[in-house]
């Protein structure tokens, strides 16, 4: 992967929208929902080992939790009949446990019927409502609308309203293995796994997918986002299916996983945010949520079981990192992170993206002022984390072609072994984290934030993190000369890492060190009311918000750079 970005528009790999897997899925939505519900039901029955008592308990727990959710945490998006439905479930359950006339098989069947109802409802709830017209509108809003704003800000003079000199691709730079991604997307099924720092990510990725000429991907979006109209519109347009984090019962989780697995088997490209949620600390995700990831492995095995051994049944994992100078939600994210790790108080979700107005204001700021974003597309891997070549063949580290199917074989046959697949999921998770660090692109702002924070930490060696962060900001000041020297040291180490292929850098890091620092200071967390790092009148480096500085510093966590201090 080079450090340069791609500036061109790609032809769609599937020009006819009817060929898009996501379109096919949305056309057969009804049958698909049924397939998912049925498969989910069978999974849960397998879990209960065919024991009626276990199933009964599971249903009762589900009902109890759902009632609690409706009472304690209702949302605008919840369906009208939520209460009635669960009341219905309750009366069926009560009736059934009181009924003594049924024999064992009959009772079991009745319980399965209730399960059936629930999985069907969940599957229906989860399923995406992709509409092509909405997709088209959204795409044109994002591309032309944003491009107008961008040019209005950058091109001077009267002509600026009509200029096409700058496109979104200058603002949001795409680097990496885009050609391979396009090739593989036309032959197999892609699962894109990006880092997740901001709520903006899903829209950003949606736009990138479209620029690269790929058909839309489906992805699981938090149901809370559907509470906000503008988001709901975008999400639906981008093929989002709904993930309700309030529902933590087994039946729901299994239905959700089944949905993902079946969609992958259907050949629909998917997007997983493997961290599960936005990174609270600003670190690149190091612990991934393995639930969804396991569906990739399951779907791959299922395809092999069906005898689809060629590339059309192969699943490719493509890691993506999104690199920002500025994350709008940083102040609240880091606060949450600190209160969770510090265990000082119970954390409550507060969201900077709470209203459509706030988002629009941010977008306006974002496109009219500086601050670039870059998106790095990593090499595609198979579900075991082996790199694949342009034709999708998995390779070992010596370039020998290997068959992923063999990993599911025992005594000559493909076998279903959930414990094995769990281990494979762990492994894939680790590989994705490794790749994230490799394709991550270092910005000037990361460099200055990292260096400044480490210098402050070194000055206060004896303090633990929480005491350190409580230091009064006005007393912390770093002389420019020593700051420059330390930045240089860190930068040199970053270049060493880069030469070993362990990280990537933005081209602006090749400038003079003073320029890099200026660039970094200008950009790091640039729109926050309190800036994480600025130069004061005397030319010293100071911080206005230590927590934020810590947040931006964390981006370079995981490279052992702190050993330099």
């Amino acid at each position: 992967m080079t450090d340069d970005y791609i500036k061109r528009k790609y032809e769609p790999i599937l020009p006819q929208k009817d060929e898009w897997p996501v379109m096919k899925l949305s056309k057969s939505r009804k049958e698909f929902v049924k397939t998912v519900a049925e498969a989910a039901k069978n999974r849960i029955l397998e879990f209960t080992g065919g024991k009626v008592e276990v199933l009964k308990e599971e249903l009762e727990t589900t009902h109890y939790r759902e009632k609690l959710r409706i009472k304690q945490n209702p949302w605008a998006v919840d369906p009208e009949d939520d209460y009635d439905f669960w009341n219905g479930v309750k009366s069926s359950l009560v009736q059934l446990s009181a009924d003594n006339t049924l024999n064992k098989t009959q009772r079991k069947k009745k319980y399965i019927d209730i399960l059936d109802e629930i999985t069907l409802r969940y599957a229906e709830e989860i399923a995406s409502t992709f509409k092509h017209t909405h997709y088209k509108v959204t795409r044109s809003i994002v591309t032309t609308g944003f491009a107008r704003l961008l040019n209005a800000a950058r091109v001077k003079g009267f002509k600026r309203l009509f200029s096409n000199q700058y496109t979104l691709q200058d603002k949001i730079q795409i680097i990496g293995e885009t050609k391979q991604l396009r090739d593989l997307a036309s032959k197999g099924t892609i699962i894109m796994v990006p880092t997740h720092f901001s709520n903006l990510d899903s829209i950003l990725i949606g736009w990138i997918i479209s620029v690269l000429g790929l058909p839309p991907f489906i992805y699981g979006a938090g149901l809370n986002l559907f509470n906000i109209e503008i988001f709901a519109y975008f999400m639906n347009a981008l093929g989002a299916y709904k993930v309700d984090r309030r529902k933590k019962n087994l039946v729901y989780i299994e239905t959700l996983k089944t949905y993902s697995s079946e969609a992958i088997q259907f050949g629909v490209h998917s997007l997983f945010f493997p961290g599960g949620t936005r990174s609270r600390s600003g670190k690149i995700e190091s612990k991934l949520k393995l639930g969804l990831l396991s569906t990739a492995i399951e779907a791959q095995r299922a395809n092999y079981q069906k005898g689809i051994n060629d590339i059309s049944g192969k699943i490719f994992i493509v890691p993506v990192t999104i690199n920002y100078h500025f994350v709008l939600e940083a102040p609240s994210l880091i606060k949450e992170h600190l209160s969770i790790t510090g265990q000082e108080r119970y954390y409550q979700e507060s969201d900077e993206f709470s209203t459509s107005l706030k988002i629009s204001k941010f977008l306006l700021k974002f496109f009219t002022k500086g601050s670039d974003i870059s998106v790095s597309v990593g090499k595609a891997m198979d579900v075991l984390g082996h790199y694949v070549d342009q034709d999708g063949n998995s390779m070992d580290k010596n370039g020998r072609t290997i068959d992923t199917r063999d990993y599911f074989i025992s005594n000559g046959n493909i076998t279903v072994d959930t414990q094995r697949e769990e281990e494979y999921t762990n492994r894939l998770g680790n590989r994705i984290v490794q790749e994230f660090h490799i394709i991550n692109r270092v910005f000037s702002s990361h460099l200055v934030a990292f260096t400044a924070f480490q210098m402050i930490k070194r000055e206060n060696k004896k303090m633990d993190l929480f005491n350190l962060l409580r230091l009064p900001e006005e007393e912390l000041s770093i002389s420019y000369a020593s700051f420059k020297a330390e930045c240089k040291r860190v930068l040199e180490r970053i270049f060493e890492l880069r030469d070993k292929g362990k990280v990537h850098i933005a081209p602006h890091l090749r400038r003079e060190i003073d320029q890099i620092i200026t660039h970094g200071l200008e950009n790091v967390g640039m729109y926050h009311a309190k800036r994480p790092l600025v130069k004061d009148k005397k030319g010293n480096i100071i911080t206005e918000d230590l927590n934020l500085l810590y947040y931006y510093h964390n981006r370079l966590d995981g490279y052992d750079l702190e050993k330099l201090f």
């Binding site: 075991l384 082996h386 010596n398 290997i402 068959d403 074989i409 072994d417 414990q419 094995r420 494979y424």
Partner: protein, 352 residues
């Protein structure tokens, strides 16, 4: 090289026919056809024609080969039984012929150094966890095989060879590997336990060799059974600290592969590591001992590695440190023992 038996679908592979490798091959051959890889052509010849290893007879079910490709093609499950010093090379030799459907179970109680290109151990300022590979980590690094397991436990090769009862642990992250190992190895006289903490089990087998050397030294100095009891229990504590620092779990160290193996090795004159300690105490130097031993005592290499590693963890490992000074410095073994007797172990057990 391909014999008439090669059409048999389920052969089990054994790589390396040292004393432990040969013992395992014999155990496996009670139920399955075995294809064994050996480096020496005379040995291959002897096994295939006379059905014996260095004169002692073996099961006819064992077929020997010098061809890694043939072995890999014929076997799905392969046992790697090579000393740690040769482990990396042998793994690389087999790597081109190994495929994702293979399972590898190894029985090597040693560690490998993993250094950056062109560096040797003396170039390294410090040895960190990433510079140390257990044998399963070598396999994962060098091959495409992911379903990996290890064998560990009190398994003195000479006792196994004459059919005395024993038990072993097959450790793997994969249940299917454990099951395979159990199916293949379990006999009336050989019990096989499973454990999912492969790193912990590997480390148990590796680290106990350090204590075994010390135990041999105590015996050589004629210090008696009380001293041995002290050593074993203090050794256990040290083993657990070192094992935790390398990522193993406590549970494995107090299992069969940990304490079970430790007690056996510390009491057995059959153990190579014990013998090293014993001869040291009798006044021989390390080079003299190594020159006359038929097989490698893994403990020597382990002491060197672990001493360097522990220096950077901030945890003391007094037994290892002192043995290092005896083996590679000029500390007298008597002085080392004295030092250990004075070392302030205040708390008996502080890790549970």
């Amino acid at each position: 090289m391909i014999s008439k038996n090669s059409f048999k679908p389920k052969s089990v592979g054994v790589v390396g026919l040292g004393s432990f490798g040969a013992a395992i091959a014999s155990l496996l051959s009670e139920k399955n056809h075995v294809i064994a890889y050996a480096r020496r052509s005379e040995l291959v010849e002897e096994i295939n024609t006379k059905h014996s290893i260095d004169g002692s007879p073996i099961n006819h079910q064992i077929q020997a080969t010098q061809d890694p490709e043939f072995l890999c093609q014929s076997c799905e499950v392969i046992f790697f039984m090579v000393p740690s010093s040769a482990f990396m090379d042998v793994t690389r030799l087999f790597s081109p012929f190994l495929y994702p459907y293979h399972m590898i179970i190894h029985g090597t109680k040693g560690l490998c150094l993993n250094l950056p290109e062109g560096k040797s151990q003396s170039d390294m300022k410090e040895i960190r966890r990433e510079n140390i590979l257990t044998m399963s980590e070598v396999i994962l690094k060098e091959t495409v095989v992911i379903r990996v397991g290890c064998l560990a436990g009190p398994n003195l090769a000479k006792e196994l060879a004459v059919g005395l009862p024993a038990a072993t642990v097959v450790a793997s992250r994969f249940n299917e590997v454990i099951h395979q190992g159990q199916n293949l190895l379990r006999t009336e006289k050989f019990q096989v336990y499973g454990n999912s903490d492969i790193i912990g089990v590997e480390l148990s087998g590796v680290l106990k060799n350090i204590i075994a050397i010390a135990s041999g030294a105590l015996a050589g100095l004629g210090l008696g059974e009380n001293a041995k009891g002290l050593l074993i229990s203090r050794g256990m504590v040290e083993l657990i600290y070192m094992g935790n620092a390398l990522g193993g779990s406590l549970k494995s160290f107090i299992g069969l592969a940990g304490i079970g193996d430790l007690v056996t090795t510390c009491n057995s004159t059959l153990s190579r590591n014990y013998t090293v300690g014993y001869r040291l105490a009798k006044g021989e130097s390390l080079s003299e001992i190594q020159a006359t031993m038929e097989e490698v005592a893994e403990g020597i290499n382990t002491i060197r590695l672990m001493k360097n590693f522990m220096e950077n963890t901030g945890t003391r490992a007094p037994i290892t440190e002192n043995l290092y000074k005896v083996l590679f410095g000029d500390l007298k073994i008597e002085e080392a023992v004295q030092y250990l007797m004075k070392y302030p172990f205040n708390v008996d057990v502080d890790f549970l």
